[in-house]
Subunit: 247 residues, 2 copies
Amino acid sequence: MRDTTTLQPGLSVDCVIFGFHENELKVLMLKMKKMGKWALPGGFVDRDKDVDTEANNVLKRRTGIENIFLHQFHLFGKVDRNRPNHASNLLDNGLIDSKFKSWFEQRFITVGYYALVEYANVQAPKPDPISEKCEWLPITELPELILDHRQIIVKAHETLKKELNHQPIGLNLLPEKFTMPELQALYETVLEKKLDRRNFRRKMLSYEILIQTNERRLGGAHKAPTLYQFDKLKYKQAIDGGLKSGW
Amino acid sequence: MRDTTTLQPGLSVDCVIFGFHENELKVLMLKMKKMGKWALPGGFVDRDKDVDTEANNVLKRRTGIENIFLHQFHLFGKVDRNRPNHASNLLDNGLIDSKFKSWFEQRFITVGYYALVEYANVQAPKPDPISEKCEWLPITELPELILDHRQIIVKAHETLKKELNHQPIGLNLLPEKFTMPELQALYETVLEKKLDRRNFRRKMLSYEILIQTNERRLGGAHKAPTLYQFDKLKYKQAIDGGLKSGW
DNA sequence: CCAAAAGTGTTTCGGCTACACCCATGG
DNA sequence: CCATGGGTGTAGCCGAAACACTTTTGG
C-alpha cells in the first residue's frame, strides 16, 4: 500500500474463496506475520473502481484466477468490528507503517464476496505483504481469525447452502472432468449431509447440465466410474434461470 | 444535516419500504423539491453507529415505525452511481448548502434494505428537508427516480419474491386481523401471478402460523369470510427456521 | 470368486394441481 | 331466490425417497 488518498475511506472487501479437496471444503486464508492469526484475503476499494471490480482483483492477486463465479453476499457494518484494537495490533507487530495509523484506525465496513475455485488450479497462492503464508484451511477446523472473519465465513457458507437450492455448483470447483460420486461428495460436503447415491444421480442428470464422456476413472478398486463434464452453456443458463427443486 | 464530520464518508443506506393497499404493492418514496424526481428514503451512517441501526433510523424517521422486519439485501457499489451530476443537481436546485458540496461530490456506495410495513400504520409519512412530500407509489407505475433508485427497487422486489419461498409474509404488512382472500391477494401481488384459492388456503394453513378467530369480515356482499391473525411466535419460528416449499 | 462400488429399475408416499360441490350473504 | 364469493372435499399427477437388483472392477 503506497497511498491511501486514492482509496474509498472506511471500506474494504473480503473474499471467502472456497475450494474442494480430499472431500473437504476449504477456504483460502492468509496467516498474518507476527500476529499468528489468520485472515481472509481482502483489500481496499479504489475511489474510481467498482466494488465488484475490487473483489475480483483480490481474487486475482491471491490465486491468479479471473472471470469466475464471485458473488457478493453481505455487508458487515457493525461499528466495532475493527475497533478498538485492530490498528494498534497491526502497528505493534510492525505490519504497517506508522503513517498509515490513522487509516487503519478508521471505522471500517467490509463487503463479503464468496468464490468457488478449483483447488488444483491454485498452485501457489500468494500471500500479501503482511502475511507469511497463504493456504487452504478446512472450513471445519479454523484457527483463530482476526476481527469478524469467522462470522464472515459462516455467513458465506450459509449463503452457499441456500443458493444450492436454486443453482448448481461444481463448475470451477471440480476438475474439468469428474465422476458422479465425486460431484455427490462435493454436494454432501457443502450441505453437510448424506444424500442417496441413486437419487442424486437422477436429479443431477435431470438438470441436463452434464455431458457424459466415454472415459472412465481407472486405477481405483472396484468398478470404474464414468467421467462427466459440465455443458457450460446449459450450466450458465441454470445459474441465470434458477433451478426449481431444493435439497 | 449539520455536520458531516461525524459521518462515515461515502456511505449511505436506502430503504425500500413496501406497503400493501388496494391490492397494489406500494413503495414509500420522497419527491424532491425543485428537481421533481423521486427518491428512496435514505440516510447517512454515523461513524459510531451500526449500519443496521442507521437503516432502522431511516425507517423510523419517515414512518415512525420501529422494531419490524428490515432486511439488508444488497450493496450497490458502482463507481459512477452518484456521479458526475448528482451533487451539482442538488446544489443548482438549492437543496443543499454549498459548504456540503464536497461531501455530496464524493463517490458514494449505498446499502439497500427492504422493509414490510402495514400501510394503515403509516398515517402521515414525513418528508425529509429536501423533499416536498413523502408518499406511497405503486411499484408498477414509478415516475422518474434519482440515481440508481429504480434498480434498487427492482432488486428489492426480486429478493422479496425469492425470500417468499422460504419465509411467510403478511405480518406487519396486513392489519392485525385479515381474511384468507386478503392474504392471498397480497401473495398474488408480490408474486405477480394468480394462485388457486383453495390450494392457497390449504398450503397457508399447513404452515400452522395462522390463528382462526371466530369473527368474520361483514359488510361486503356475499358470504362473510373468516378473520385470521398470525400466531406471532410460530410466525417468528417460520422466519428463522425457513419454510420448505416454494411458489 | 469375492468384496465393494457403479449403474439401473421399481415401489411408495406426499405434496401440488385441478377440479366439483356446498354454504352463506346482500341485494 | 339468485348471483357471487367463501369454504370443503377429492382424484390424479409428479417428483422425491426408499430400496432391490445387476454390472464391473481389483485383488
